[in-house]
Assembly symmetry: C2
Amino acid sequence: MSTDETQARGRSATLSDVAKAAGVSIATASKALNGRDQVRAETRDRVLRAAERLAFSPNALAKGLLAGRTGTVGLLTSDLEGRFSIPILMGAEDAFGAGKVSVFLCDARGDAIREQHHVQALLSRRVDGLIVVGSSTDARSSLGRDLPVPVVYVYGPSEDPEDLSIVTDNVDAGRQAVEHLVATGRQRIAHITGDASYAAAKDRAAGVTAALADLGLPLVGDRVMFGSWNEAWGRGATRLLLERAPEVDAIVAGSDQIARGVLDALHELGREIPRDIAVIGFDNWAILATNSRPQLTSVDLRLEELGRLAAQRLFEAMDGDVRHGVESLQSRVVTRGTTTPSN
Amino acid sequence: MSTDETQARGRSATLSDVAKAAGVSIATASKALNGRDQVRAETRDRVLRAAERLAFSPNALAKGLLAGRTGTVGLLTSDLEGRFSIPILMGAEDAFGAGKVSVFLCDARGDAIREQHHVQALLSRRVDGLIVVGSSTDARSSLGRDLPVPVVYVYGPSEDPEDLSIVTDNVDAGRQAVEHLVATGRQRIAHITGDASYAAAKDRAAGVTAALADLGLPLVGDRVMFGSWNEAWGRGATRLLLERAPEVDAIVAGSDQIARGVLDALHELGREIPRDIAVIGFDNWAILATNSRPQLTSVDLRLEELGRLAAQRLFEAMDGDVRHGVESLQSRVVTRGTTTPSN
DNA sequence: TTGTATGCGTTATCAG
DNA sequence: CTGATAACGCATACAA
């Protein structure tokens, strides 16, 4: 498609190339291309055609230099697996609207030095704002108050209450899990979850126990079973649980991974799901939840919505409307076969 | 940390601010900060201190505008789950070396229009090169030959042989799976894999059958069992297989997901792994492979290495050393409990 | 309606 | 050794 008339290999056409080709001045070309109304229709046409012909693409660097804004936002993550970051990224992109803003994703891999480095790289490229995705729901250290652009923390909040953080309400998520189980007819509920040192484990457990207390129901097994965030713990804990409290008719698993282990052990022990016992997880991680047998009911943390809201708040902050503190989003139960008979 | 002397909220310090603060000219400040040796040590110190004090961060836009290079590379993906892209991104970042180049990740979500849009956004931001990650190992349409920057295709090759593509050799991967099983004492091997319309399925199957033929071994079950890329198919196919060919002592599963289904069915059928039957998957996806029981042996496609090589080739192309065609990387078996007794 | 000139922040070239 | 000054590509106030 590129004719001999276009740029030499590697250099793209500039506004002045277009102006020359159209036989007008740079200023006129600029006006024509930007839809300014101080230009004759015929002239505009000529410029547009020339731009088309030369495959002209305005240099965003020059534009940004002039405007002070680059239409670029940095998304800083420490989430190696991309488990959280990708949905959040997608939500943010949606909110910014195609074409207006591009998102620059950097993975710090849990390394503070690498993170600092990426912040520098992003700032030097003059991003208009920063979204920081925590690697867990635990509070993380702030990037600081003296950054030249607004920052929004997502998933895991900043330790500094002066910063703005957008998180999922994990206590409520725990409540919702219980309420769903009760609504589908369960009364003898146990809770197997991950490492107690994680806020996600503690918060969801708090929600579970609070909801049970409100409903006047016991926590089967007497206490929350904290352990590790993997299938092996789900399996082991389930065996333990069924020995100690065979009457259990529902298990709240602290994550979909743990839930997979729970399901595995239940199959092995000959329990039929959901007839004998129901299971619900957290995260609604498709690859795990939709491949289990039966498919796994799970509390969706609405990561995309988190990203969308973060982008919106960032936009507002860039316009001077700065907020502080922690903003919580409610999660949502996605019902599948492990809690309701119809798969 | 920011004193009153620094910029008004939002505006970051410029080189001229630093120069003024240090009592020198802009030119001298620039030289001092860039380690040019035409500046007195004492002067350099003064400039450096001023820059430090003002939290000066050079404007990469201005730099890029002048230099024609931005130290930025676009990574275009269609991999919603981040399954392939994140490791490839990490490999590329490693190869580029911290600080020199930043990577801009965009997710086209399998939408051609969105992809075109992202390409435009990246080009207008004057990235120095583009890495395109395919959504499968099937060949994908080329971005075209008339782009102003070099492009490297990764994971899935470009349809245009004039482009440079870096891929994993899936035929060889299939061979390696068989060779590993045979090396660990198996002789009666079957192959359960995904959708036959995928190159990944076809290529790995070709490698499996070729390796078996070379070794004079039969393909148990008589033919490759093509199906879907999920656990349910792994379970169903395994039941079918054990009915038709109970003598099977090893299964090559076309992906880790399928392998999980295979393991599940084998447990249910009372087969002990790996004593009675061995299983090997592809992808070495940690979340699946390390959480199965026993842990899953899998063929690692070396995605990070793919990213690293892509970055290197892109660098070379940016320096004018342009290559064409498809470059293949060998995969590597990661041995775990499903093929060897010691878990 | 069109063109000229200025400046965004930086580096490089050339005078002093 | 240091300091003016000219680019880089674009948008805009202002002059014609």
